[in-house]
Every structure is written in structure tokens, then in C-alpha cells.
Amino acid sequence: MSMSAPVLEVERLRVHYLTRFGTRVQAVDDVSFQLNKGEILGIAGESGCGKTTLVSGCMGLFIPPLYHSSGDVRIGGQSIIGMDREQIRRDVLGRKIAMIPQGALNSLNPTRRVKDLATDMIVSHDDRAGKREISERLRERFERIGLDAKRVLDAFPVELPAGTKQRVVIGISTLLNPELVIADEPTSALDVSTQKSVIRLLFDLMDRGIISSMIFITHELPLLRHVSSSIAVMYAGEFVEYGSTEQVIFDAQQPYTRALMGSMLSADAGQRGKKPVAIEGAPPDLKNVIVGCRFAERCPSVRSDCAQHKQELRVVQLRKVRCQYA
């Protein structure tokens, strides 16, 4: 394992799942990206675009009905495709990559105290740690992330307010100091002040060296302006634009990205009154094989042959764009 190997490398990954009736849905179709130590990648997309499936793929969690179709995922240079599930659970999950799941607020088991849930995390990866050692570790870590350790550790999740719960979830997920944290919509159900403190917490963990890289997933593209160094916009299982934050936010080239930025409503004096862009319809059903551009039927700048040609990612203005007319 070389020192300069990227923390995560995804190469032409394709993931599909089988519905109850046996139909194959290609949820992730040919996605490639690289994440180096210290970087934050933002993945933006609507619900159903495949971002959560992509995350499962990155962690090697191909549990039926989810299957790996093709492509490679390498963590620290080592491929995890084909690794057996037990090995992934032991070596990868929690240790190298930790995930903060969507709807994290509800993912805490309501029938157990926080300290028990946290202890589970440690114990399932490290049988040797003694009870007192664990207790001390938990207290120290929770204090570090700004929680009243004594009160929070003894509480049941239902007794804690939303913001605290989110911190607890982040705290538990990062207990083993994973190299990479994947945060799946960590700010969705929260109001703006809490959103800010959660993001601040994540940055804090990075600054302290507890986590070194992050993938931040959200459906609110503008939020990534303050979070990530690079952004990938996902639509219908593919990346449609992939570049630096500055490029994607301020100079979007792909029509879908433009639409996402255009649907933003700003309180800023200069932006007010700007009518948000409406995109009718819904993303294509991935059960069917799609010929041509997947955004064609909703694209405001669609041309006559968009629906015939498969769109590839090409470099336009120093970033990758999936559109032949960008």
C-alpha cells in the first residue's frame, strides 16, 4: 500500500439491484472518481439519482438485492470488490470508511442507551479493549465533540434533541478514527442553525485529524459551496458534471447542474425576485435501458439528436461534463 495511494478510488463502477419481480435496475452506471487524503468531495443529486447506492458500493456493501455489476473500488490502493463480507465488516467498515446514514436521527436504536451503542461500535472491531478503557475513550471523545458526555452517554436517544442526536451519530460513526467519512444527507431534516453546527463539527473533526477525508452527499447543491473542494453532480445513476466547487457552483456547464443552481431561492437582496427554474417531470425509470441523454426529456436546452446519442463525460472548461452541447 503506497503512501500516495488515494484514500478512495472508484473506477467505472456499476451497481444494480433486483426488484421483487426480478427486474434489473441499474442504479449506478459507470461512475469514476478519486478522493485523496484531506479532500472533501460533495455529491449532489435528487432523491433516486443513485447516490445512496453509490455509497453502499464504495463501502463494498453488496447485499442482495444489491449487486455489483462491474468496475472497481479501491481503498488505499487495495480493491475491495470480491472481499468477503466478514473481512469488509472487520477491516473496512468503521475503521477505514465510516458512514453517517441518511435519516441518521432515526438510526439510533431507541431501546439502548447511547453509551451501549457506542460501546458496540468499539467492541465489534476490537475485542481486546477493557470496559474501563472503553468508558474513558467514549467520555473523552464525546467531550471533544462538544457534548456533555456524562448526560448524553447515559441517555436514551429519544431523550435528546435533534442537534445533539446528530452529533451523537457522528461521534459514534467516527469512534475508530476512520480515514474517510461518508455523510449521507447529514443536514436534511435540520434547521439552518443546526445545519451550520453539524457542518462545523465535521470540519472540526477533520482539523483535529480524527477524520482525514470526507464525502458529503446532499440534494442541496448550493450548500456544497461551503463544504467541499470538489463536486460531482449525479443524475439517473451517472455523474453529469464533476469538477472543483468554484467551477460547478459558479460556472455550471451541464444543463441539469444549471437547473439545480437555478432552483435556489436566495434571501440576498441582489438575488431576490429571481424566478426559480422549474423542471417538470421526473428522472427516467432506470428499469429500462436508456438510449441517449438521460436528461433529454426534461432539458431546457434539448436539441433534436440529444435523445439518440449516448452522452459521455468530456472535459469542458477544465472539468468533466456529460453533455455534447455544453
Binding site: 484531506g38 479532500e39 472533501i40 435528487e46 432523491s47 435533534a162 435540520l190 434547521d191 439552518v192 442553525s193 443546526t194 445545519q195 451550520k196 457542518i199 462545523r200 470540519f203 477533520m206 482539523d207 440534494h219 442541496e220 447543491l221 448550493p222 450548500l223 459551496r225 461551503h226 473542494s229 470538489s230 472543483s244 466547487t245 457552483i249 437547473a259 439545480l260 432552483s263 435556489m264 431561492l265 436566495s266 434571501a267 440576498d268 437582496a269 441582489g270 438575488q271 431576490r272 425576485g273 424566478k275 426559480p276 427554474v277 422549474a278 423542471i279 417538470e280 421526473a282 426534461r298
Partner: protein
């Protein structure tokens, strides 16, 4: 048509009693004029949802006076009278519908408000017309249940109800927060269309200041049960007087501002 749709004087809503009492709405007073669009804006727990329920009359204030069209709400004998004129759309389109009955039957059930109830064929016609008004082909939802449609479609079902009932006032509780960015604008379009066609007064409840600014004539900023600031969007965001408003504006992750200071920022 009376000038003032809603009039509130020292309205409070307290939950529980004694030491454990929680004051959700704290002696608020305000006026909402006919055809005005007002947004109740604030963070979670500020009381905006509770206040909206008081206006909708599915909850009652513990003290103070609240009137609609000049009549005190407490004196309304048949709730259906109020609901014919004041309706709502909710935040989570999926939980707004009963999962055991078809969508169509639930749309038809809003005719319970009308006395006398129209004939079956008229009901079917009006439901179809409402669906078309929100760009849904009636045949598309035949025999379907809530979980079989998308979030955007379900939200439009809630709007279709409004087209059927044609109330004077609409209370919209976070109508776009659970909807994707692309569908957000079209939901807002439908709401504006509703306002035009039906000459409605709209009360928006939202934590999204940007949204409030875009749609409203007046914004009420709420904090801990009180209205701490009110005024036109330009004034409230341009020259905020309350520290609560200032903090709120500061916390919005606006693309153009430096929103969050960071010690060490990773380079791309």
C-alpha cells in the same frame, strides 16, 4: 369581503400545566389582510407550526382572541364552515394520506365539507378537473395508494384538494421542504396559480428565509413563541432590527457569502 382575514390579540397556546407547562405561542398579536401572502419564519420549536394550527382551527388557543373574517374562531359551531374557507397543505406528502385507502377516494372525501353533497358524477368530474389543474392525468392515479406515487406527485395531490375546495385562505406548512429542488419551483408555481385563480390569502410556514422572501408580501419572524420581527421581505432582510433575525440571516448558507470560517481548508 372583509379587509381583515385574521385578527389575533394576545393569543397564547400553552401545553401542559404547572411547572412543566410549555409555552408554544406567547401572546402574539397580528393582522392578516385579504389576499396577503404572509410567511411565518423561524427555526424548529419557534411556534410557527402551532400558530398555523390555531389559524386552521385544529387546535385552540389557551388564551387571547383569534378571529376570522371578523368572527371569533371560538364561536364557530360547525367546524366544516371554517374548513370550507380555510384549508391547508402539509409538509410530508406521504404521511398526509391514509395508507389504507386509495388516493382518489381520499380526494373525493373532501366533498364531505359541502352541504348538500354533490352527485357522484359531479364529484368525479370535479376531482378530474382538479387533477388536470396540477398536471396529473386522472387515469394515472386510478386505484393507486399513497406509497405508489412520487413525493412530487403526492404534494400535487394536496394541491388538487385545494382546487376542489376553493377556500379563501390556504395555510401551507413547509410545502416544499420535502420536495426535490427541481420540483420546488413547480410547486410554488401551482401555489401562485391558486392564489391568482381563487384570490386566496396564503399563510406560509417555513424555515427557509429565501423561500419566504420570494413569495411573501409580509414576513413574521418567530422565536420562542413570539413574533420578534415583521415587515416586508426587503426591510426584514435588508435592515433587520431583531438579533434573532440577524442570526437567522447569518446562518443561511448563501452561496455568495463567506458562511463558515474554517481553520484549515482542504484544497482541491
Amino acid at each position: 369581503m372583509p379587509e381583515l382575514k385574521f385578527q389575533a390579540r394576545d393569543v397564547s397556546r400553552v401545553f401542559g400545566h404547572g411547572k412543566r407547562a410549555k409555552v408554544a405561542v406567547d401572546r402574539v398579536s397580528f393582522e392578516i389582510r385579504d389576499r396577503e401572502i404572509v410567511s411565518l419564519v423561524g427555526q424548529s420549536g419557534c411556534g410557527k407550526t402551532v400558530l398555523s394550527k390555531l389559524l386552521l382551527r385544529i387546535d385552540a388557543p389557551t388564551s387571547g382572541e383569534l378571529s376570522f373574517n371578523g368572527q371569533p374562531l371560538a364561536k364557530v359551531s360547525d367546524p366544516r364552515q371554517h374548513f370550507r374557507k380555510v384549508q391547508a397543505v402539509f409538509q410530508d406528502p406521504f404521511s398526509a394520506f391514509n395508507q389504507f385507502f386509495t388516493i382518489r377516494s381520499q380526494l373525493e372525501s373532501c366533498f364531505h365539507l359541502f352541504e348538500p353533497k354533490p352527485s357522484k358524477s359531479e364529484i368525479a368530474e370535479r376531482v378530474d378537473a382538479a387533477l388536470l389543474a396540477v398536471n396529473i392525468k386522472p387515469r394515472e392515479i386510478d386505484g393507486k395508494y399513497a406509497f405508489e406515487l412520487s413525493g412530487g406527485q403526492m404534494q400535487r395531490m394536496l394541491l388538487a384538494r385545494i382546487f376542489i375546495i376553493r377556500p379563501e385562505v390556504l395555510i401551507a406548512d413547509e410545502p416544499t421542504s420535502m420536495v426535490d429542488a427541481c420540483s420546488r419551483a413547480s410547486i410554488l408555481d401551482y401555489l401562485m396559480k391558486l392564489k391568482q385563480e381563487l384570490a386566496m390569502t396564503i399563510v406560509f410556514v417555513t424555515h427557509d428565509v429565501g423561500l419566504a422572501c420570494y413569495v411573501s408580501d409580509t414576513i413574521f419572524i418567530m422565536h420562542q413563541g413570539q413574533i420578534v420581527e415583521r415587515g416586508a421581505p426587503e426591510r426584514v432582510t435588508g435592515a433587520p432590527e431583531s438579533p434573532v433575525t440577524r442570526q437567522l440571516l447569518d446562518d443561511i448558507p448563501d452561496v455568495h457569502r463567506n458562511w463558515l470560517e474554517r481553520g484549515e481548508r482542504a484544497s482541491g
